[in-house]
């Protein structure tokens, strides 16, 4: 404990008396923090944009067409598969999900959205936070994601017009917004939900598809009676329902086209920024220790233990790193206030917390070499023999 107080005394005195130099390093750490937190927020935002709908499903398993490699866009299930899945013991409920993209053209600036078909009240249709669910059948009603409202100022009760290319013609359809859901981005786009039959009528279609009125779901979201029985139920579903394959939500997310590659890229950027941080901090403290060799020699010669010298270096590094991360965190918050909702930055994710923890760790990690060097300095350096 005595060593700790002595080390703290030395570390704090040095930082205070050389505050300009240490503040400069703290600012460098702050800039690295700013960069790392923005990369983390961008990663979280992009990930959300891609996976949010699937991640927030009130379901544990996803049914795909067999051999579709868990790709939602490649999977087209038979219509009776939904009923077959619902009949399997251990399935509480199941809901079909139909995916496509479209464009809201009735806005001053058209907005591309994911258009998902679902059954109200079934897995696959998120909970309504405002308004009501759409009616069934071919009702020309839609429920919008809050992100659509944020980007367009649309309100419940408004009518939107969407454009879909069917065959070789552009077709326009009117939909009344009847409700709102939250956190349902899919494939980098905000989402609107429509009834399955409506979806089939208004979705973009090829010439060959125009003659069909039957909607084929891409996937089926399955809610289990006992969510702990994931593996057992996956096996049972495959055994009892023909031509399907099963994935949990994590596998489904990782197989969303581009998701893994995109997240890998963002994470690599983050890791490299952290490595740069480690090198910068390591370099600074190493140079500082080299400049202080005679002084550390004197400290040891007059009776300071290696523990005091080493601990003092550690405390100093932690203080400067914490200051830098604090300033960087504050700057990040201030900058984030000025960003429009179209830029996918999410600061409340676990990534930001992990990034802050890692940033606090890079100081001691980067300074480790200098700490070891400081501890190994011979007190003889105080004399000319050193």
């Amino acid at each position: 404990m005595k060593n700790f107080f002595l080390a703290t005394y030395l570390a704090v005195k040095e930082v205070i008396r050389n505050r300009g130099r240490f503040l400069l390093v703290a600012l460098v750490i702050a800039l690295i923090t700013l960069l790392v937190l923005f990369i983390a927020a961008l990663g979280e935002g992009l990930a959300n944009g891609n996976r949010q709908y699937v991640a927030n499903l009130d379901a544990q398993l996803i049914v795909f067409l067999e051999k579709s490699d868990y790709s939602i866009s490649a999977s087209r299930l038979e219509t009776n598969t939904v009923k077959a899945v619902r009949r399997v013991e251990g399935v509480e409920d199941a809901g079909p999900v139909y995916t496509s993209t479209t464009e809201i053209v009735s806005l001053p600036e058209s907005l591309k959205v994911s258009m998902l078909g679902a059954e109200a009240g079934k897995p696959g249709m998120p909970s309504i936070i405002d308004g009501r669910d759409f009616r069934g059948g071919e009702a020309r009603e839609a429920v919008m994601d809050r992100n659509v409202a944020l980007r367009s100022d649309l309100k419940i009760g408004d009518t939107i017009q969407i454009r879909s290319t069917q065959g070789t013609d552009d077709k326009f359809f009117d939909l009344v917004i009847v409700g709102m859901v939250d956190g349902q981005s899919y494939f980098f786009q905000p989402t609107i939900f429509v009834p399955a039959a409506t979806w089939e009528k208004i979705r973009p279609q090829s010439e060959a598809e125009l003659n069909s009125d039957t909607p084929y779901p891409n996937i089926i979201a399955v809610k289990l009676t006992d969510p702990a029985q994931l593996d057992v139920m996956a096996t049972r579903l495959v055994d009892e329902v023909s031509n399907i394959e099963i994935a949990d939500l994590a596998t489904t997310i990782n197989n969303i086209p581009g998701y893994s590659a995109q997240q890998g890229t963002v994470q690599t950027q983050g890791v490299f920024t952290l490595l740069i941080g480690i090198l910068v901090i390591g370099g600074f403290f190493q140079i500082q220790i080299l400049q202080k060799v005679p002084q550390i020699g004197v400290l040891k010669a007059i009776g300071s233990s290696n523990g005091v010298v080493g601990l003092s270096a550690v405390i100093q590094i932690i203080v400067v790193t914490a200051l830098g991360v604090g300033i960087g965190g504050g700057l990040t918050y201030l900058f984030s206030l000025g960003f429009p909702p179209t830029i996918p930055l999410v600061f409340n994710g676990s990534r930001s917390l992990i990034a802050v923890a890692l940033l606090l760790g890079i100081g001691p990690l980067g300074g480790m070499v200098s700490i070891i060097y400081a501890v190994r300095i011979e007190p003889l350096k105080a004399l000319r023999l050193g």
């Binding site: 005595k2 002595l6 005394y9 030395l10 005195k13 040095e14 205070i16 008396r17 050389n18 005679p294 002084q295 020699g297 004197v298 400290l299 040891k300 010669a301 007059i302 009776g303 300071s304 233990s305 011979e378 007190p379 003889l380 105080a382 004399l383 000319r384 023999l385």
Partner: protein, 243 residues
């Protein structure tokens, strides 16, 4: 009656150099009593700095014994040697003496902090000692804001504040002008005598010997001569005797 504060018995320190063994210190024995100020002189390479490093428990001798306040350095592990340096030895060095980010007062008090003795009385004693050394108006100055002589006087205060048995000074006047050098060593000698400490000063400047009680002259690692009478020492200091 003064007691033996430091005793060196048949001390040898050998280094291997290009396959040959060199005795930097070669069979040296002497004692220094409390209240005695001794100068260790000799030409470059005579072994005086090696000797000082061994006395400071910074180097271990090849053979022989060093006893400080009755404690044999050879019987101590590194942890005990650190404790001995902290409690029983006071230091002043040639340069880089003070901790640059502590004020004059904090530098002196740091020795008390190290020894867990920084209380109100310690603070008063620290200020009084600095006042004795003419530094009352420099208590809150950092080393960079003081002259070389002032820094050396702060170092002297730091070397004495915790009442060590032995005070070691390594070329304390090397970076000072003549006038400052005389002032510093004279003050040092006064405080050694006044506080009844044993002081050993390594110096190449024989003029500084006028303030010491005994001069130990080293050459090629050996103690070749001891000047004990005041007359001899003064003559040495004035350059009359051949060094």
């Amino acid at each position: 009656m003064s007691s033996v504060a430091l005793e060196v018995r048949d001390l040898v320190k050998s280094f291997a150099l290009d396959g040959a063994t060199i005795n930097a210190v070669d069979g040296v024995s002497f004692q220094v009593n409390s209240g005695e100020f001794v100068a260790l002189v000799g030409p470059s390479g005579s072994g005086k700095t090696t000797m000082l490093s061994i006395l400071a428990a910074l180097l271990t001798p090849t053979t022989g014994q060093v006893l400080i306040d009755g404690q044999d350095l050879a019987q101590m592990n590194e942890k005990k040697r650190v404790k001995l340096r902290r409690e029983k030895i006071g230091f002043t060095f040639q340069s880089n003496n003070l901790i640059p980010y502590l004020t004059a007062r904090e530098n002196v008090e740091f020795m008390l902090r190290l020894n867990n003795k920084l209380d109100r009385a310690g603070r008063i004693r620290s200020d009084e000692l600095l006042a004795r050394l003419g530094l009352s108006d420099r208590l809150h100055n950092l080393p960079a804001q003081m002259s070389g002589g002032q820094q050396q006087r702060v170092a002297i205060a730091r070397a004495l504040i915790h009442n060590p048995a032995v005070v070691l000074a390594d070329e304390p006047t090397a970076s000072l002008d003549t006038e400052r050098a005389f002032q510093v060593v004279e003050t040092f000698a006064h405080l050694i005598h006044e506080n009844d400490r044993a002081g050993i000063m390594v110096t190449h400047d024989l003029r500084m010997c006028q303030f010491v009680d005994r001069v130990l002259q080293m050459q090629d690692g050996k103690l070749v001569r001891v000047y004990e009478s005041k007359q001899e020492i003064l003559e040495l200091a004035q350059g009359v005797l051949k060094h």
